[in-house]
Symmetry: C2
Subunit: 413 residues, 2 copies
């Protein structure tokens, strides 16, 4: 089974937007066992769209198109499909009534332009869109399937999940595919690969392991293809083995962010957290507060960027800053003590380092960071060394600090 | 002049990475007057690559390929091009010597695999890559140009800017294109469009105005096509008019981030800044500290997420929190006073709002935010109302606060 994705829109070609739809669709299709043959992005132009569909039709069994379904003049996908499949449009009365009601409720005037969105090609199946006024369409010709979806990402995703994937599963028979995702923090890709070399050598031929590293986090994806009914059990066993080998590096066995896992741990323990951030400049607080409901366990962060504020707000000693400097074990320990005294939270994190490009010294190159985590009873501190790249360092430092807290809370430090 | 971009790599098709290269290339080409006809993403497979090049060749004058130039087995773009153009590889001795030296310096062993990267197709022009070991290649056939670049974004961008764009400009004659970018903050796209309706109605036919809105910021792009030597002067005049109409909404006349402009303003005035953040959770501090060198003007941020920390660290009155609540004019004014007392910076920003999804009340829906900015002499506060969407609100609130500071510093408040 092969598929082609066609993303339609002039804004893609002039680089005004990055097409993220096709990667997402590629993932979803690969999850059910459909291989993407190609992605084509073309302009809002009937000839170009037609030519792209011709090519897709020759190379694949399923063609998924996104974009060009809006109510304005430049949205021509629907009319192009009507001529391509040699059919006509007819008004879907039910849909039109529903649309009018929605507009009325919102106190908006219904325009003739909107009526065109209730027109559906005759021999197509309408895929109802609960998130917008552009409906999805499903055509079949010579055993091949052609699907047209709106380009707005959250509408497209809703239609893929609620309509396209279930219908594809019903229409075709796929080989069984099983996925397992394991999230790790605390080691780079190469160290993990080394630890897993025996595991990988003994991996059955129908299993694949993919590494997806991203700034302090490595996501592992175990995929099994087969027709065998035991596939899920076999995957469970392999996942168990893999987790055993990696031990404390594993922080979750589903695709979850570290800040979400930390939040759950704090909530389970009725504990609270605050931070003292220098070089991470508020990014740890941003990660933690990006999780809805984080106010139940996160109290705040003192982003102390200057020496002055480190002294005034956290009580870091002037002598520490002027002898060993801000990027030192002494400094992060004093930051953490000061923080816990001020905020009285259960746990605290303190970070001070050199994100770059400036600020390096011979013994503290760019990428050096000191992190302390602890509570009122115990405090641990460690120096790490990462690489150049300011924005990358800010992120890696932040995830490393959250991971230190995770291990500290688990008594692994 | 038309072009096709072909991005090569299995990881794109299974959605492991989002192809950002093609959008960036589309922008660059459009800037010099080349229209992108299509983007094709295909797998690391000779047959698929060949078929994509055939299609691109039929539809365009310039074909730019990225990816598949690494040293490993699955990188087959170079060999595919060698067969496609019916040529052979030869060792570039100079390049090979340079590569060996680099490896030696880094204390790494040179592998046979690396030697293959010093092999260049006979009748192609090598585009030297200063950022990596995969060189770019430029082929010409029947007046059409075929360019192959590495897929790593920073290497691709380096080669596009240093080699491809200058060579295309030399090889072809393009109509003159002039661009102007104007950055605005403080009003949405529709308000700006309303203000500019007369301006747009009077825009000469060879000028286009594009709106690129992004969470609190609207970037305007004025593009002029023509052969007329006066184009630049005409663009200057129109830019001047546009800036006049928009007035204080304009914060920069080049493509600059608001946090960078704020940094320049503070530096010019020898002034310092600190923040007191509630709902933005450290994001304002993150924006400010993402700018290298920000430590010269940014002292820190007190991310006071809980009531408790607002009282302890900023001296917000318990009575304020328990009567009018944290999302109130009183609270942000007390936060700002407390902040300036503690940090003694020239300027301060205080923000408290409801990012959502929880925390709303009937008179304070999700998207409500109070922002105060000021110095030791004067303080202003304002309530804004945005829409649902936690992560979007965090960003819009942050940019709105920075924009309030910009106007305050300019004496416009």
């Amino acid at each position: 089974m092969k598929a082609t994705v066609i993303t339609i829109g002039d804004e893609i070609l002039i680089g005004q937007i990055v097409d993220t739809n096709s990667a997402w669709i590629g993932q979803q299709l690969s999850d059910i066992g459909i291989k993407l043959y190609e992605i084509i992005s073309c302009g809002d132009n009937a000839e170009q769209i037609t030519s792209a569909i011709d090519r897709a039709r020759a190379n694949s069994d399923v063609v998924i198109m996104t974009g060009g379904l809006g109510p304005t003049k430049d949205d021509i996908t629907k009319n192009t499909l009507v001529s391509y499949f040699n059919t006509t449009l007819e008004l879907n009365e039910e849909l039109w009534e529903r649309m009018k009601q929605i507009f009325e409720k919102r106190g908006l005037q219904v325009l003739e332009m909107n009526r065109s969105q209730a027109m559906i090609p005759k021999d197509s199946t309408m895929l109802p869109n609960q998130r917008g006024t552009a409906q999805g369409m499903w055509f079949e010709r010579d055993g091949k399937v052609f699907i047209s979806l709106p380009g707005v990402p959250h509408e497209m995703k809703h239609l893929m999940s609620a309509q396209v994937i279930p219908r594809l599963n019903e229409r075709f028979t796929f080989p069984t595919i099983v996925h397992r995702t394991i999230m790790t923090a605390g080691a780079g890709e190469s160290i993990i690969a080394q630890k897993l070399s025996e595991f990988e050598n003994n991996l059955p031929a129908n299993f694949k392991l993919a590494y997806l590293p991203n700034l302090g986090i490595v996501r592992l994806r175990l995929t099994a293809h087969g027709t065998n009914g035991d596939l899920a059990r076999q995957a469970d066993e392999l996942e168990f083995k893999l987790v055993e080998v990696l031990g404390d590096l594993v922080y979750a066995r589903t695709d979850e962010k570290l800040e979400v896992v930390i939040g759950k741990l704090l909530r389970e323990n009725n504990a609270t957290l605050s931070c003292a951030e220098s070089c991470t400049g508020g990014y740890i607080a941003h990660l933690l507060t990006s999780v809805p409901g984080s106010s139940t366990y996160f109290e705040g962060s003192l982003v102390t960027y200057s020496y002055d504020v480190k002294e005034k707000l956290l009580g870091v000693k002037n002598s520490t800053l002027n002898t060993v400097g801000a990027v030192s074990e002494e400094c992060v320990r004093e930051m953490l003590s000061g923080l816990l005294q001020k905020t009285e939270t259960t746990y605290g994190i303190a970070v001070s380092g050199i994100a770059g490009p400036g600020g390096a010294t011979p013994d503290k190159p760019v990428g050096t960071v000191w992190i302390a985590v602890g509570n009122s009873e115990k405090m641990v501190a460690k120096r790490y060394q990462f690489f150049p790249g300011r924005s990358e360092n800010i992120k890696v430092f932040s995830y490393t600090a959250l991971n230190m807290l995770r291990l500290f809370m688990a008594g692994k430090w």
